[in-house]
Structures are given as C-alpha cells and as structure tokens.
C-alpha cells in the first residue's frame, strides 16, 4: 500500500549531529510500523492509520513559523498566558504574578530525547518535535490568576503534522489553574502530536483543563504522563468537542501517599468526529484516591471511546478508585465503546466502575416541550444538563462559567 506520509528531519534547523542521529533512529522506528492501527490493543477502537488514510493524501512535517501571529485573547476572566503558534512559544504574559516565581522556556530537546517509547506516535514525536515549552512554578507559590496556554494553529497548515513536547513542574506547595486552549479556524486537515510531562510535587495542586475553541479539522493526539507526590492534587477536565479526531492518552502515577487525581470529560460529537479518552491510573502508594467520570453525547456517525485502566500495586492499601462512563447515543449510526480495566494487587481497596449508554429520555423531552420549549432547544437543554454535570466540582466560578458557555456553544453548534 502507498504510504500517505513523508517526514524529513532535515527540515528542522540547528540540530547537532548527535541529535540528528537520535532523531533518525526514532524516525526509522516509526517507519517500521507506521501510524498505530487497530491491531494494537491500545488502538483497537481508534484505527488511526486507516482514519488518516481516508482523510489525508500526504502528511508532511511542519517546522516553520507562520507570519500571522494574531489571536483573540479570552476576555471572560483575567489570566496569565503563554501563546504558541504551531507549537512554537511566541509570547508570554505573567503580569499578575510575582517575578521570579515562574520559569518559562522553550522546551529543551538536547537532554530530553529518548528512544524509550510505547507507541509509534512517540517515536514520531521524538523524531520530529520542535517548539513546546517547559514551565516551572516555584516552591510555595500559588498563582493569583489562571494560566491559559493558547495552542494556536495557523490557517496555512494543510496536510501537515505539528509535533511538540511540554514539561510542567509544580514544586512543593504550589498551585496552578491551567487552561489549554486549542485555537484554529481553518477548514484544512492537519495533525497535532503532543507529549507532555507533568510533575506535581508534595502538597501541590494542579487543575488541568483542555478546551477546544471552535470546530476544526484537526487530528489531535496528546499523551500526558504525570507523577504525583505526597498530598498532591491533580484534576483534569477535557472538553475537546469540535476536533475531527482526538485521543487523550493520560497516565497518572500516584507515587506517594494521600495524593488525589481525577479525570472528567464531556464531549458532544457530531458528523464523523471520533474521540477517545484513554487513561491509566497507577496507584503506586497507599491512601490515594482517583476519580474518573467520562460523558459522551454521540450524534450522526460519530464515535466515542473510553478505555480506562486502574492499576493498584500491592502496597497501595486503602486505595479509593472510581470510574464511570455515561454515553447518550442519539443516532443509530453513532457508536460508543468502553473498556474498563481493573488490575488490583492490594487486598484492602475500594475500586468501582460503571458504564452505561442509552438514548435520550423522550418523556423528559415531552415535559420540556409541554412548557413551550421548542424541540431542538429541549434536546440541547437535556444534553447540556447531562454534560455540564462534570463541571460541578470545579471551584473557580469564573472558569466554570467560561467552560459552561463554551460547552453550550459546542452543543448548540457554535
């Protein structure tokens, strides 16, 4: 079969010969298998290879900065920001914060390229990644305002892949509300492959929110590897509706006692959109909690996937782990696949999981209509109610309202 990609390392500028050789090795490893396909257990519900084949003629790697660097700043709440264009760090603004408490730099590839990998997209990222950022919050510093990372993708991207890596470190007793904001409004197909490493140190707390601004033809993959220390807290909210394809691959390592993590997701998928949330929660220490709630609304011929794994190590006694997936399937051609997995080696733990899928309750629709609410709006209200529930725990009022508004726009068709 004809290959539908052509990647060149020599497009990347300023590489040492050592880096070039390491990147080439990674690229060779990628070429051995190509993009992940359904034969790979981790990708059995999301055959990326055939999805890309059906939608791209030839994917090439991108390593140039667009001339357009304009983007719209969110005006609903005050915030610090970092702005990336096609993965490259362009500007930053931390004017709400104390100086020297926040370190922000371009991602340093020299010391962070490895051959170690779990799937071919990692190899590809290792071979082609440029740009990205590393962010470090000082010990005992709690950011006064949230930080928005504007992930802007230029409209000139066409049949191209953007690869980058980020690193986020919260030092002891620090706090950050982070909003990853995907921003693109072109009609062209392009791909994004991000690897992100997160360290949440002792007594720290990170809210990690991801939201997609508008409908775009982006094929998105993000792998997040996170390590949590004692008494730390890591909450994730994924609201990525509008992407053509998306897979969040999230690994959370609860490495020390009394750490907490959660994954919340609310997606409203239309047309042929395909999104997967894959989690692996490793309870490596006693007395840790993990909570996952994944909600999908599936219209048209869309497909939602949730693969959630909870691993409990033998020493991880008094683990409390919970996962729940709920899907509303609105059309016969829509599909939802869930694969919950529990692997438990400790004997004093509380682990539970559940998965339901069904259609919308027509009696509820009738009730709303009988109050004069038009049918379309009645559906939107129920869907909105179903999805918005995952935001209940979020304590930041302004962010919550912002996300609710965005979610409503995603449901009501922008």
């Amino acid at each position: 079969m004809k290959q539908n990609y052509d990647f060149k390392i020599d497009k990347i500028k300023n590489l040492s010969s050592e880096e070039i050789s390491l990147r080439k090795k990674n690229l060779d490893l990628f070429y051995q298998t190509g993009f992940p396909n359904k034969k790979d257990e981790d990708w059995k519900f999301s055959d990326l290879n055939s999805i890309l084949r059906n939608n791209f003629n030839k994917i090439v790697n991108n390593d140039f900065l667009p001339r357009e660097k304009e983007f719209k700043i969110i005006d609903q709440f005050e915030h610090n920001f970092i702005s990336l264009f096609n993965g490259k760090l362009i500007s930053k603004d931390f004017s709400y914060e104390e100086k020297n408490k926040i370190l922000i730099n371009n991602f340093n590839y020299k010391d962070n390229l490895v051959l170690d990998s779990k799937n071919s997209l990692y190899f590809l990222n290792n071979a082609l990644a440029t740009g990205g950022f590393s962010l470090e919050i000082s010990k005992n510093y709690k950011l006064k305002k949230p930080l928005v990372v504007y992930n802007n993708f230029s409209n000139s991207l066409k049949e191209e892949i953007v690869n980058y890596k980020n690193s986020i470190i919260l030092n002891e007793n620090s706090e950050l509300n982070l909003i990853n904001y995907i921003n693109n409004s072109s009609k062209e197909n392009f791909m994004v492959n991000i690897l992100e490493n997160i360290k949440v140190k002792k007594d720290s707390s990170l809210n990690n929110i991801l939201i997609n601004n508008s409908k775009c033809n982006c094929y998105f993959y993000k792998y997040i590897k996170s390590d949590l220390e004692k008494n730390s807290n890591f909450e994730n909210y994924f609201l990525s509706s509008g992407l053509k394809f998306n897979k969040f691959d999230v690994e959370i390592n609860l490495n020390e006692e009394n750490s907490n993590s959660s994954v919340f997701s609310a997606l409203n998928l239309i047309n042929k959109e395909h999104q997967e949330i894959k989690t692996r929660i490793n309870h490596n220490a006693p007395n840790c909690n993990s909570y996952q709630k994944v909600k999908n609304v599936l219209n048209d011929e869309s497909k939602g996937v949730y693969q959630g794994k909870i691993f409990v190590k033998n020493i991880a006694q008094k683990t409390d782990a919970y996962q729940l997936s709920k899907a509303l399937i609105l059309k016969d051609a829509a599909e939802f696949d869930a694969k919950p997995e529990l692997e438990i080696y400790a004997d004093n733990v509380k682990c539970s999981h559940g998965s339901t899928s069904g259609s919308i309750d027509l009696n509820s629709i009738h009730y709303l209509k009988s109050r004069g609410i038009p049918e379309k709006e009645a559906y939107q209200m129920l869907i909105n109610g179903f999805l918005c529930e995952i935001l209940e725990k979020l304590s930041e009022g302004k962010i919550k309202n912002f996300l609710k508004e965005k979610l409503e726009r995603q449901i009501n068709g922008y």
Binding site: D361, L362, N363, S364, H366, Y367, L368, K369, S370, R371, G372, I373, P374, E375, E377, A378, M381, L382, N384, G385, F386, L387, C388, E389
Partner: protein, 244 residues
C-alpha cells in the same frame, strides 16, 4: 375554548378513549373523575400532544384543530398540563428551565423576552405566593424534590406561564393537607373569566377546595355522566360502582 368531539385514542394496540365528548368554555372549571384505567391520564396526554397515540375524532381549541399543533405550540398558545408525575431533569437548573420556558412562550406570543433580573424578580414573587423556598429554584429541576414540592413546582409553572386552559392531572395525589391547600389556593387565585380548568382526579378531596362547575364521570373511555359539584360529593359516598 375546548371542543372535543368523538375522541378516540389508541396506544400499543390498546383502545383507551372510545368516543369522548367534552366542551369547555372560558371561565369554567371542569372535573373529570373516574376509576383507575378509565382513560383520565390518556386524555391529559393526548391534549398535551404526547407522541405515541393514534387519534381519531376532533379536538378544537379556540377554533383551531389541535392535531395540527406540536406540544410546544399548544403550550405557547396557552394550554398547560400539570403532570401527574413531574419529571426529574438532572443537570438542568430550575431557574434556567423556568426562564427558557417563559421566554419561549412570550416569544411565540409576540411579547418581549424577559432579561435575567426582571425574570428573577418575577419568579421570586410567584414562588413566595406558593410558599416555595427560593433555594429550590437554584436546584436541578425536580431532582430530589418531595412529591409535594414537585406538585407545587407545577402550579408555579402554571402561574408563571399564565395559560388559558390548565389541565391538572391528579395534582392532588401525594399531597398532604397543607400542600393540598396551598395548591388549591394557587389554582383559585388564578381562576378568572378568561381561564378554564380541567381537573382530573380520583377523589372529591381536591374539589372540596376548588369548586367545579361541572363534574364528569369517565368510564371505559367515555364520559358516562355529567353533573354539577354535587355529583363529586355523591361519588365520594357511593363509589363508582353504582354508576359505572
């Protein structure tokens, strides 16, 4: 206002209404009583435009054929059904629901939609008339409400939307005496020369508080007897079996 001629309704091959006739004029209060399974709730469902019924006969509302109107259009034109079992809608805030509902009706009637502040002022007023605690309004719609609270919420919606024809489907069931009085007061305070009521009930109890102009006995899908308020009192004493 409402003219029902020879109405038949079938659902899942069950023939439930078998030629029902009923005429309601503005300002009138009609009660429909009848044993279980006589078709009382089916009548309410059919009037509200619920899907799933196969319908024959003719229903005219202010001269317009009801069968051509969707559920929401009926509501927008002033037909209100207080549900026997109001639905719990998780994730939907009661206030948001009430405002969307009121504004949908206002919009359809050519009135200006209410902004949030004006709406909140109005709803607080209406809620306090019915002794509904404000905090209910910020909760999810009917979720975790007691039976009495749900029914009061229905009457609140009625008073908010100001319908011309209000159909109360067993609104008295599940109510204690105090709640029953509050609900009845709510209805009585809304009675006027323009507004009509169709009260569906098993028991005379509610009719002690809301005095009907007509009482109809529904049995096996037809109205078999019509009288004044005394018929309800008589039924309470003798039961349905003497009539049916």
């Amino acid at each position: 206002m409402l003219n029902i001629k020879n109405l038949e309704a079938t659902i899942d091959n069950k023939h439930i209404l078998k030629g029902l006739n009923l005429n309601i004029k503005p300002g009138e209060v009609h009660a429909i009583m009848g044993p279980n399974g006589s078709g009382k709730s089916t009548l309410a469902n059919v009037l509200s435009g619920k899907n799933g019924y196969e319908i024959k006969g003719d229903i005219k509302y202010n001269g317009e054929s009801l069968s051509e109107l969707s559920t929401e259009e009926r509501a927008q034109k002033g037909i209100f059904l207080a549900f026997q079992y109001p639905l719990e809608i998780p994730g939907v805030n009661t206030n948001t629901f009430l405002r969307t509902s009121l504004n949908s009706v206002r919009k359809a009637q050519g009135d200006k939609e209410l902004d949030t502040l004006t709406f909140l002022k109005l709803i607080k007023e209406k809620a306090s008339e019915l002794g509904i605690d404000e905090k209910f309004l910020s909760r999810q719609l009917n979720v975790g409400f007691s039976g009495g609270e749900k029914k009061k919420n229905e009457i609140l919606q009625m008073k908010l939307l100001q319908p011309k024809l209000s159909i109360l489907d067993e609104t008295d069931s599940g109510l204690d005496i105090d709640a029953l009085r509050i609900v009845a007061d709510g209805v009585n305070s809304y009675k006027s020369k323009e507004n009509a009521f169709l009260i569906i009930t098993h028991y005379q109890r509610l009719l002690d508080y809301i005095k009907p102009d007509y009482v109809h006995v529904l049995s096996n899908g037809k109205i078999i007897k019509t009288g004044d308020a005394d018929l309800g009192v008589q039924l309470e004493k003798t039961g349905y079996s003497n009539i049916v």
